[in-house]
């Protein structure tokens, strides 16, 4: 069986584990996504499944949930072998899964989503009242606050995730699989998710928590299984391990954080935002008198809980959203009245937070994605004609230089992992050495190793004299990259700190009074 560490005490000695995977192997063509993995989920525990992107976490969990049939190995549920031909079998066996991308009906209410295809009612008549009551009961039980009558597409992502959890609980799931649940959450939402997970475990539900964020592992789980390249590299007990040990098992080496050599900053302002006022976007704050200056060779970080006006300021700089008053200047030139294309031509590069929707085209090739936005001018095009050869050779060069892992430059971008897709977008935006780079959440959904490389690319850009406006919800990222950190709260800049003073405590306190505004949609 498994080589569980001998010092792991069995909480329910004698009772079989809630679920167990034995010798699971799953191939996709030539790729061995999961290679002979054993995993034991003890009843009432929270078990972290960690690993970098592409390590095989989702594939392993999909096998447990009946989405993939394994090429070898068996699945046991409460000590008995089960054959899961589809998620329906898994649901019947008491398993529930919350996917990385939610599977909710936006125009239906919370209650309708939760009870869908397991509706209360008699003779085919749907009993809406009973459904809403059931949702209220379930959310009460685990300490969640969800309005059963709300339409799902009006809800922030954090609440939608709760709906997914309620869906599984309504179907009496005893083993709950959460695949990268925190990737879409704000810091406050992460904390409440962790609380929910702990409550569930205390009530006897077994939770498999997939993540690549080590802090979450330490805060939320009892056991840890680390995957790398489809195989288990460590089985740990959370209480007896360290972040370093987990990271090393994940990436096969210790982490070498990008050094931030805070160099000399020229006095040359590249971007000057003055007294910006903007109307409120849905779910976000009204922007009030925001002023930001970014100089050459400087990274200005913007911190804050999402929904406090950061996104709106960025969109004003890019010319995506109208302003009520105030000015945006690039090298002293007022950008008022200029559209996105003119502004980019003047030297603004942009890496948006919404990478799949806005920053890239998933169905286009890596090469085409690298050409986007520069496809009208030499060397990629001349006299109105695009040169496929130039597009390809540029792509080959950039892919090599940035170490993008892809099957080739003509592979669709959607086939790349999150980290590699992000590198493609970043490569495109950095390639033309635009004096100003605006970047949002550059490492969201990106694994630790690629995240490190992305940070290094940004710091290199700064070292070459580039100016960077960086929006991030992660304090550690801001500390690693920024020279100064501004905190936005309710549409205004409420703190302007030297990076040296911007400790977790100070930033956390400055951001803390932020209302937990819903976060802009990314199309669930």
């Amino acid at each position: 069986m498994t080589d569980r560490l001998p010092d792991v005490a069995d909480p329910a000695a004698g009772a079989p584990p809630a679920a167990e995977l034995r010798g699971i192997t799953k191939r996709f063509g030539p790729v061995v996504a999961v290679d002979g993995v054993d995993l034991v989920l003890e009843r009432g525990t929270v078990h972290a499944v960690v690993g970098e992107n592409g390590a095989g976490k989702s594939t392993l969990m999909s096998v447990l949930y009946g989405l993939h049939r394994p090429d070898a190995g068996t699945v046991l549920r409460a000590g008995r072998e089960v054959r899961l031909r589809s998620p329906l079998d898994a649901i019947a066996a008491g398993l529930g899964m919350v996917h990385q991308h939610f599977r909710l009906f936006g125009s239906l209410s919370v209650a309708e989503n939760v009870v869908y295809r397991a509706e209360p009612g008699r003779r085919g008549i749907f009993d809406r009242r009973a459904a809403e009551q059931r949702v209220a009961e379930l959310s009460d039980r685990i300490g969640l606050d969800v309005d059963p009558t709300a339409r799902v597409d009006t809800l922030p992502l954090g609440v939608r995730q709760r709906v997914e959890i309620l869906k599984a609980l309504h179907r009496e799931a005893e083993v709950l699989i959460l695949d990268e649940p925190t990737a879409v959450l704000t810091p406050g939402e992460v904390d409440s998710l962790i609380a929910v997970v702990r409550t569930l475990a205390a009530q006897g539900t077994t939770v498999a928590l997939v993540t690549h964020k080590v802090q979450e592992v330490l805060a939320a789980t009892d056991r840890v299984t680390v995957l790398r390249d489809g195989a288990v590299t460590a089985r740990l007990t959370t209480a007896r391990t360290t972040a370093g040990e987990i990271v090393e098992a994940m990436i096969g080496r210790g982490l070498q954080p990008a050094v931030n050599p805070r160099g000399t900053v020229s006095s040359d302002p590249v971007l000057e935002v003055r007294d910006l006022r903007m109307a409120a976007a849905p779910g976000a704050a009204r922007v009030r008198d925001v002023s930001i200056t970014v100089r050459a060779g400087q990274v200005i970080g913007v911190a804050g809980v999402s929904g406090n006006g950061q996104r709106e300021v960025v969109e004003a700089v890019l010319g995506l959203r109208p302003v009520q008053s105030g000015s945006v200047r690039l090298h002293g030139r007022d950008l008022a009245g200029l559209g996105v294309r003119e502004r980019r031509a003047l030297g603004i590069a942009y890496v948006p937070e919404d990478r799949p929707g806005m920053g890239s085209a998933a169905t286009l090739s890596v090469a085409d994605n690298l050409a986007l936005g520069h496809h009208r001018s030499p060397p990629l095009a001349g006299r109105g004609r695009l040169s496929p050869r130039a597009v390809r050779s540029q792509a080959t060069e950039l892919v090599r230089r940035l170490g993008v892992r892809t099957a080739g430059v003509s592979a669709p971008l959607g086939s790349l992992s999150g980290g590699n897709a992000q590198k493609v977008v970043l490569a495109r935006e950095l390639h033309h050495e635009a004096p100003l780079l605006v970047v949002e959440q550059p490492t969201q959904g990106v694994d630790v190793g690629a995240g490190e490389e992305i940070h290094r690319l940004l710091l290199d850009h700064r070292a070459r004299g580039g100016a960077v406006l960086l929006v991030s919800y992660e304090i550690s990222e801001l500390r690693a990259l920024a020279d100064r950190v501004l905190v936005m709260l309710d549409g205004a800049v409420t703190a302007d700190l030297d990076a040296a003073d911007a400790t977790e405590e100070v930033l956390g306190a400055a951001m803390a009074s932020a209302r937990s505004a819903p976060r802009p949609e990314e199309g669930a």
Binding site: P87, H101, L104, F105, L108, Y116, G124, A281, P356, G523
Partner: protein
């Protein structure tokens, strides 16, 4: 002239009924996530088969039954092509519309030995609801109509209840909204799509029968003359909601009835015939503009993606 009297409302109900049948069918398909653009062809087929069987058997009701059965079979082309074989529903529908037009014209000559119009003396039509004569209001509204007119209204209400108040209706709404999510919960999406397509076929059969055995007692080549397209517009306008479909169809019916009145006042027929289509166009454009304006005010970035839905990639598709 007192135009909004009971007789006018009765005329509106009468001329709306065939469109309403087709539009209800289209709305249910839309709920299942399948755009049914073959309503025109199905209505036309229903009208033809109703007249043919009514003539052959001497019973108008046999004609109605035949219209329902054969149009359901005809809609099987869409169920098979677009659902089972996953062809583009729009292309299949275009084919069906052309086929219905050609086939009814051909069979009109071959089976009924007529060109252009078939309206022999003795062709049995559907009876009016004479038993309502003398009943206040109802008599004036429905007394001169066939049973298929009130049935259409009842079916609109029933469809609304079915979609909104039953378990199957809830599942149907989910199927169209997010088929992957519905599948992951054990709902067989193609089954819902096939069922609603066939149901729409049956409804179009009723609508066609009302057109050729109720409104008039005759079959004329291409006699639907765009009613199926008006039904498609009604479906889009109502965003697949049955009660709004009813509203939209009554609006178009009112436009048509108005057209007749204007004709009586000496307006050229070519202009008045265009009234329902003109109203359709105006309402469609107006509703689009309203959506755009709302999005623009709320979120200019989102407005761009709404105007270009093809540019929006669902995260599921990107992995």
């Amino acid at each position: 002239m007192d135009v909004v009297n009971l007789a006018f409302v009765a005329a509106v109900l009468g001329s709306s009924a065939p469109v309403l049948y087709a539009a209800l069918g289209g709305a249910l398909c839309g709920r299942a996530g399948l755009f049914n653009m073959a309503l025109e062809g199905q209505l036309l087929w229903g009208a033809f088969s109703a007249v043919t069987v009514s003539w052959w058997t001497g019973s108008a009701w046999a004609g109605v039954v035949a219209a329902v059965v054969t149009t359901t079979v005809f809609s099987g082309v869409l169920a098979l092509g677009a659902v089972t074989w996953r062809a583009d529903p729009i292309i299949v529908a275009v084919g069906m519309n052309l086929l219905a037009l050609g086939l009814t014209g051909f069979l009109l000559r071959e089976l009924l030995d007529a060109t252009g119009t078939f309206a022999p003396a003795g062709l049995p039509g559907l009876p009016d609801l004479d038993l309502l004569d003398g009943v206040p209001v109802l008599g004036a509204l429905l007394g001169g109509q066939t049973l298929l007119v009130p049935l259409a209204l009842l079916l609109a209400v029933a469809a609304s209840l079915w979609v909104n108040r039953t378990s199957v209706g809830l599942r149907l709404r989910g199927v169209g909204e997010h088929p992957e999510a519905a599948t992951s919960l054990g709902v067989v999406v193609p089954r819902y799509q096939r069922a609603t397509v066939l149901l729409a076929g049956a409804l179009c059969g009723l609508g066609g029968a009302q057109l050729s055995l109720g409104d008039v007692t005759a079959f004329t080549e291409n006699m639907t003359s765009g009613r199926g397209w008006v039904a498609v517009a009604a479906v889009m306008l109502a965003a697949n909601r049955p009660l709004l479909v009813l509203g939209a169809c009554l609006l178009f019916g009112a436009a048509e009835a108005w057209g007749f009145r204007l004709q009586g006042l000496g307006m050229p027929q070519q202009l008045t015939d265009a009234a329902p289509y003109l109203v359709t166009l105006v309402v469609l454009v107006a509703s689009r503009l309203r959506v755009r304006r709302r999005l623009d005010e709320a979120d200019p970035v989102a407005a761009v993606s709404a105007a270009h839905p093809e540019a929006v990639v669902h995260p599921e598709e990107t992995r």
